[in-house]
């Protein structure tokens, strides 16, 4: 129903704006400052509200929903602690450029600044971790501000936008005619669409001359819906392709042209290729320190092309030769056109030698691990998860060793299937993010891979999963340590395991059962596949799979902080082998 022109209160305007934006789910938690909005939500059934158990989870769930669908995630929190609890989730979305609108309640305008009950300067606190934020002081600005919030969140380089709404602005007794603008024009914000054709030409010329090219792709390909164009470009050029943690799945990871993730825990072949490349084509990636290692050693022989929608990403960490600012999909489409025009003249290009070199590096088998251990190796657990789910899975992750093992050993063939906190590295992200994914795709297999330290950071969300019957599978790689912290302490602090042992762990099986879920514990490698099959066969149940893994396993390869890309630690089992 068209509500334009109808008299609505501020609270009703918020809800109607969400309806007009096509919002399916709002993840939130009520409190004093948002009660008018909750009352308006109660009186309709178009926007469904999902009650989380902590505001951090509201933001992560909205984030997970956005990552899986490409649509805008929405969360709703109250003033003061509601907003501060959400900050971790907002910052998580900000670092990974995830479109999200977070509506926060605020104390009434007359008492703002008086240290009122549950008052905090939400706009001030969130400013450094949002794409933009608003404090709406007049109900007449509410509809336009909300439209702007969605527009800003979804366009250009996406990101979270906070709309802080004082309680009196949502007063149910003050009604004004509702007008929700369709289009927004902002003189101060005009996202760039197409890339500069001259620059794209220069890039293609470099690519045509390249002898040792590498395509280095990131989360921007996923966010920019450019997986199809990227795949075509890779196929046409025959170039090897490596991806950041955030870009995994944009190009099929099972394809031989994919040479693995790069960076701190990237493959030997990917990092060596980066070190030797003469033309690097960076697409929607931002030269993060986990990728570059020590900047002085980064791609020392390469001319660098960088495609990014955000001009400030270009030449921020690494000086590039051919910057191209534009939407990845649009730039790649133009690039493909030029390549097709020019490439036929130069068929039989000499990258065959380059591939021979890469295959040599590949034979090092840098992801080697002990497959005959009597303990469950975490790598084996991830491989088993892949086999049991046949690669058809939405996998969310927490942060640490399990995250890296999943990135290395679960090959995603589609974008938006691998959902993890890459930039901020937020422990506690996985479970609430999985809730957002499962709500978006009720029929899909959704799992959260986690560690026993991460999972406890948002464990309360098992209650939310029970309330909404979300059949998520938690795959806990339980090694009794904060694994990644333990690994660094082993390598760099002479095995002084300062506070990285997670003492007094709960019985996760009983814990899951106490929330009304199914809990399972697996201790032997031989039992793992059957247990996973059993878990995933329970299509309507949340199953918590506590997998006891080898507590001493480390993530390899590893580039220590401050080292160059070619200075990798390889698995100890390979260390006696001669490396190229």
């Amino acid at each position: 129903m068209d509500m334009n022109g109808v008299d609505l209160s501020g609270a009703e305007i918020v809800v109607q704006a969400l309806i007009d934006e096509g919002v399916e789910y709002v993840f939130g938690y009520p409190g004093g400052a948002v009660l008018h909005m909750y009352d308006a939500l109660f009186k309709q059934d178009q926007v469904k509200h999902i009650l989380v158990r902590h505001e951090q989870a509201a933001a992560h769930a909205a984030d997970g929903y956005a990552r899986a669908t490409g649509r805008c995630g929405v969360c709703l929190v109250t003033s003061g602690p509601g907003a501060t609890n959400a900050v971790t989730g907002i910052a998580t979305a900000y670092m990974d450029s995830i479109p999200m609108v977070c509506i926060s309640g605020q104390v009434p305008t007359p008492v703002i600044g008086s240290d009122a009950f549950q008052e905090v300067d939400t706009v001030g606190i969130t400013r450094p971790c949002v794409k933009h934020n608003f404090l709406v002081k007049d109900v007449r600005d509410l509809a336009t501000t909300l439209r702007k919030a969605f527009y800003i969140a979804m366009t250009g380089r996406p990101g979270p936008v906070v709309v802080d709404i004082p309680k009196d602005v949502t007063d149910p007794n003050i009604k004004i005619p509702y007008h929700y603008p369709r289009e927004i024009q902002m003189r101060s914000y005009q996202p760039i669409e197409r890339g500069h054709l001259g620059q794209i030409k220069r890039a293609v010329e470099l690519m045509l001359q390249a002898k040792r090219p590498v395509l280095y792709t990131g989360g921007g390909v996923v966010l920019g819906e450019a997986a199809a164009q990227l795949t075509e470009l890779a196929r046409l050029t025959g170039f090897p392709l490596t991806s950041t943690l955030m870009g995994l799945g944009a190009y099929p990871m099972t394809d031989p042209q994919f040479i693995g993730m790069l960076g701190m825990h990237g493959t030997y072949e990917a990092n060596m290729a980066m070190h030797e490349t003469d033309v690097l084509i960076a697409i929607g990636a931002r030269f993060d320190d986990r990728v570059t290692g020590k900047i002085e050693h980064f791609c020392p022989h390469a001319k660098i092309v960088h495609v990014d929608v955000d001009p400030s990403s270009i030449s921020k960490n690494v000086r590039v030769d051919v910057p191209i600012v534009g939407q990845v999909a649009s730039v790649l489409t133009d690039m493909l056109g030029l390549w097709k025009e020019q490439a036929p003249a130069s068929t039989g290009r000499p990258v065959a030698d380059w591939w021979a070199k890469i295959e040599e590096w590949r034979r090092v088998d840098c992801l080697h691990y002990d497959r005959h251990s009597d303990k469950i190796k975490p790598q084996f657990a991830v491989e088993t998860l892949y086999q049991v789910t046949k690669g058809d899975l939405y996998l969310t992750s927490d942060v640490g060793q399990h995250q890296m093992f999943a990135a290395q050993f679960y090959p995603f063939d589609k974008p938006r299937r691998w959902i993890n906190s890459g930039g901020l590295g937020t422990m506690g992200f996985g479970l609430p993010a999985a809730m957002g994914v499962q709500l978006a795709f009720p029929q899909a297999q959704v799992a959260c891979i986690s560690g026993e330290a991460s999972i406890l950071m948002c464990i309360q969300e098992m209650a939310t999963c029970q309330q909404y019957k979300l059949p998520i599978k938690v795959v806990l790689l339980n090694n009794g340590y904060m694994g990644m912290v333990r690994q660094w302490q082993e390598f760099f602090y002479e095995s002084r395991y300062s506070n990285s042992y997670v003492d007094a762990l709960p019985d996760f099986v009983k814990l899951a059962e106490s929330f009304g879920h199914v809990g399972m514990r697996v201790e032997r490698p031989a039992d793992l596949a059957a247990a996973m099959q059993e878990a995933f066969a329970m299509k309507d149940r949340f199953v918590f799979l506590d997998v006891v893994v080898d507590p001493t396993e480390n993530v390899y390869p590893m580039i220590a902080a401050g080292k160059g890309q070619h200075e990798m630690h390889l698995p100890p089992s390979l260390s006696d082998r001669e490396l190229a």
């Binding site: 706009v123 001030g124 400013r127 450094p128 794409k131 933009h132 404090l135 800003i152 902002m186 003189r187 101060s188 914000y189 955000d310 001009p311 400030s312 270009i314 030449s315 921020k316 000086r319």
Partner: protein
Amino acid sequence: MRHIIAVLLENEAGALSRVAGLFSARGYNIESLTVAPTDDPTLSRMTLVTNGNEEIVEQIKKQLNKLIDTVKVFDLTEGPHIEREMMMIKVRAAGENREELKRLADIFRAKIIDVTDTSYVVELTGASKKLDAFIDAVPTGLIVEVVRSGPTGIARGDKGLTL
């Protein structure tokens, strides 16, 4: 190198703190910052002076542009421009210093805008270096108080930084 960057901003509450926050969050130098509404009351113009190598200044400009409230960013130091800063300086002006300070003000084409038996307030406008030079020229121990506006600037020629 020293850069004077002019920014046109939406005249919204909080716009100034977004700019100030950007500089502190990213560890950029900021020497001075002035801001006031323009002839168009919906727009503020900010002038900020910063220091850094070319890469850093390039990043500063990009990050300023990225702020949603930023309408335009212009680096005045990239072309011919005029820089002006205003200073009010209160000096002890008794005895023989009184005549000396008057002469100094005349040399710098400054104005004395407040007089008591023992003090002057001198107003001086010019490039920041000229203001520095005046402060240096005041005999030691005579300065009571210095207030500086921070530089503002405008490009030479007929083109303007407008919408």
